[in-house]
Structure formats: C-alpha cells, structure tokens
C-alpha cells in the first residue's frame, strides 16, 4: 500500500532529483525557476510533499518534458534500465 503523505493523498513519485542532477542545477536554481522555496524542492525530491497540479506542470515545463516523464503514481525504473530496454528493442 502506498505510503500516505501529510495531506493524506497517495504517494506521487518523481524524477526531479535525477533531472536536476543531469542538468547540473542546484535546488535553489530550480526553486527560483519555478517560484518556490528551495526547501520545497528538497521536500519534493524526498517524496515528502506532493505538488499541486500547477507546480507539477511548471516543473515539467522547466525540464521540457511531458508531465508523466517527471511524475508518476508508480515508482520509476532507473533511467539506465529504461534507456537500455528501449535500445534493446527491435
């Protein structure tokens, strides 16, 4: 059963930490770009806070990815696994 959050909603998984690291950004950089406090980025990365739809869309737009590539209701596979499986497909 998914862990319940502070707001009693189901857990939402995200790739913010990976995407941020890929782009060499600090939490403060990402926070400034999306209009939240940098500690909120930390809460999001740790899965301690589920973002609003507006914030989720803002983050997805910042990373220039569809929102489902950044957030998911199911745990993400490691990106290397997904990439390898994609390349291995005929």
């Amino acid at each position: 059963m998914p862990r319940q959050k502070r707001d009693e909603g189901p857990e939402v998984f995200n790739r913010i930490a990976v995407l941020r690291a890929e782009r060499g950004l600090s939490r403060r950089d990402l926070a400034d770009a999306t209009g939240v406090h940098y500690q909120t980025i930390g809460y999001l990365e740790r899965g301690s806070y589920n973002p609003s739809l507006q914030l989720a869309l803002s983050l997805a737009r910042f990373f220039e990815l569809p929102v489902e590539a950044v957030f998911s209701l199911d745990p993400f596979q490691p990106m290397s696994n997904e990439l390898y499986n994609q390349e291995a497909r005929p």
Partner: protein
C-alpha cells in the same frame, strides 16, 4: 503532440517569496533543537501564566517574558505564521494551515479549560477578578499570536 504537456500559464502567477524567507538574521536560532527549546520555553511560560491566573497572582509578570520569547520564536520561524498566504509557496501554506488548525483546537481547549476552571474552582463560581480578566486577555493574545509558530517549531525540521 502530447496531451500532458504543460499549459501556457505564465510563471509570473507563481508566488513571489517575501525577503524574510531568504534572510540570514537569527540564523543561529534556526536550528531545529533551538527552535524547539524556544517553543518549549514559551509553552512553559504560558503554563506558568495559567497557574498564576488560577491563583489570582499577577500573571502579566510572566506574560511579558512570554511575549518576548514568542516574538523571537516568530522571527526564528521566518514569520511563517504571519506572512500573507500569497507570499508563501504552496507547501508552506499547507504546513501553516495545518499549524493553524492545531492552534485553533489548542485555543478552543484552553478556553474551555479556563471556563470550566472558573466554574468549578471559582469562589463563588465564575468570580473573575480584574487582574484575572487582564491575564485572560494576555493569555488569549499570546496563544493566538504565537501558538502556530510554536507548533511549526515542533513539527517542521526546516523552514
């Protein structure tokens, strides 16, 4: 084109954070255990005030230090309890709303306790002196002003 692409909503509608959320003042106090120590000290002063109220002593003597500790506590919590909602980000608003909810229950319980105390232990029942009336005013003000900050100090590791 993916249907899940972000909308065209502009970034400028996102909240602009107040400078106090980025300030470096009182940083030494913004360590969780120090915040909790301040919140505990404030709570002890409030309890002492209630005891003095019941005994018809000059509770304002404790109310003044409680006010000063509460002001410091508020500063160490970056005035999160006081900042307008549009100046906080969505997580902070959610955290603060939770603290307000708990504070509301706390104040309601304190009021019920005070009324019951006056009814049961008052001599004659519901006999409140002028000194006690002033003390009750101080107590309610202290709770309303600083209880959310005290709850935040206990429940939030980082602000």
């Amino acid at each position: 084109m993916s249907a899940a692409r972000p909308t065209d909503r502009s970034d400028d509608v996102l909240p602009t954070l107040v400078p106090i959320l980025r300030d470096r003042w009182f940083e030494p106090f913004r360590v969780p255990w120090r915040r909790r120590a301040l919140a505990t000290l404030w709570a002890l002063l409030v309890v002492a005030m209630v005891v003095m109220l019941i005994n018809d002593a000059r509770s304002i003597d404790v109310g003044m230090p409680a006010l000063l500790v509460g002001l410091l506590l508020n500063l160490t919590m970056r005035n999160m309890g006081d900042a307008p909602p549009d100046k906080l980000d969505e997580r902070m608003v959610a955290v603060r709303n939770q603290a307000f909810r708990l504070a509301y229950y706390g104040i309601a319980l304190a009021m019920v306790g005070l009324i019951l105390g006056a009814l049961v232990f008052g001599d004659p029942p519901v006999n409140v002196s002028e000194q006690q009336l002033i003390g009750i005013g101080w107590l309610v003000s202290l709770l309303a002003m600083f209880l959310p900050a005290a709850i935040l100090a206990w429940t939030e590791e980082v602000v």
